[in-house]
Amino acid sequence: MEAGGEAAVVELRIPARPEYVGVARLAILGVASRMRFSYDEVEDIRLAVGEACTTAVEWAAKNQRQDTDVLVRSSISESTLTVEIIDDAGERQEPAESANRDPDPESLGALLITLLVDEVNVSSLDGGTRVTMVKHAG
């Protein structure tokens, strides 16, 4: 809980490489634990952020942009945690639509995120993507 209703912001910048996703997961664990979330909710947030970072890192690899960063920005207000995952990993090409094939792990990851947090929004940036997720406590 923060005094004065001002949101506190915690930013973490990780290299767009798989071995750093765990660092983002740990950091968000610390951030979310400062709020009135239960164990299970904290773990849900951690999983959601991990999935979003993994997706960003995978796009960086596909687009040969492993030298870029992923920014994980958490805004903490009294009862709401907003996490933005902002990458510079290039454009995300929509996978070819085929009615009968199961979705790839990436779209399952995106679906999983929607199940774990209260709101998700994905927007294209110039040369990257921003995923914004919101989780309300108690």
Binding site: F37, S38, D40, E43, D102, L108, L112
Partner: protein
């Protein structure tokens, strides 16, 4: 789609998922259902794997996830423009998350952290009962006289070690061999051909209190002793025995309806 004559496996064994779902919707043939469930085990494994760092054996998660999968197979309407995996994922994830809500933490952590983790675990269970919801880290920390950081460390390192133990043999040593759906269903002596009865049982199980359900699950689906279950749930063996009797009575009543 043409309607197939009832008859051999050969009629549909080579069909793709979409065709199978259409046939299952028409016929409710339990053999087709079984096939659909088996075909989508990888989806359950994939999703269960995402939750594998929370201190529960992966095989347990696959097992509860499979319950979600079976429900999704039953409810899926192949006429709608949704892929099955998209439809089934929320159901599977729902069962897995419920499993975490329903049971206490497992404690496969080094001794140094074990005490604090255990204390946090006990406090979490007591607080859950008292508060009616899963407690926060702060609430647990207060209950065990530890700072937030200490509590978090116990939880966090517990998690970290569990991730390692899942990758190594430890998680499997304590469990029986990894379970397949067939073994899972076979253990309660209901064959896959007779899977409708299993559906009834599942429904009856849903009517139990979370702890009763956990006891039935561990005792009869996982073949654990009352003492082992007692340790898992952090209650006495007598208590397990009492809850088990009560749960079995309930199940009998529900299934004879």
């Amino acid at each position: 789609m043409t309607t197939h004559h009832k008859g051999g496996v050969a009629d549909w064994a080579a069909d793709d998922t979409e065709t199978l779902f259409r046939k299952y919707a028409e016929t409710r043939n339990p053999a087709i259902r079984e096939r659909l469930v088996i075909m989508h085990q990888n989806l359950v494994r994939f999703l269960a794997g995402k939750f594998a760092n929370r201190g529960e054996p992966l095989e347990d998660l696959i097992q509860v996830g499979t319950i979600g999968l079976i429900n999704a197979v039953d409810r899926f309407d192949p006429g709608r423009e949704t892929k099955f995996s998209t439809y089934a994922t929320p159901t599977i994830v729902g069962e897995i998350r419920r499993h975490f809500r329903d049971k206490a933490w497992s404690l496969k952590v080094p001794r140094r952290l074990q005490e604090l983790n255990l204390a946090a675990n006990n406090a979490a269970e007591q607080l859950s009962q008292r508060l009616g919801h899963s407690p926060t880290v702060q609430e647990i920390g207060q209950a065990i006289g530890a700072t937030e950081e200490e509590t978090l460390e116990a939880i966090e390192l517990g998690n970290a070690y569990d991730t390692v133990s899942l990758d190594s043999k430890l998680a499997y040593e304590s469990e029986s061999a990894p379970l397949t759906l067939a073994e899972f269903v076979g253990e309660v002596d209901i064959s896959l051909q007779n899977i409708e009865t299993y559906g009834d049982l599942k429904h009856a199980m849903d009517c139990l209190e979370p702890r009763e359900k956990a006891i039935i699950y561990y005792r009869f689906f996982k073949d654990m002793s009352q003492t082992e279950v007692a340790r898992r749930l952090n209650i006495s063996q007598m208590h397990v025995s009492r809850l088990q009797q009560k749960a079995l009575r309930k199940l009998k009543e529900l299934l004879s309806e």
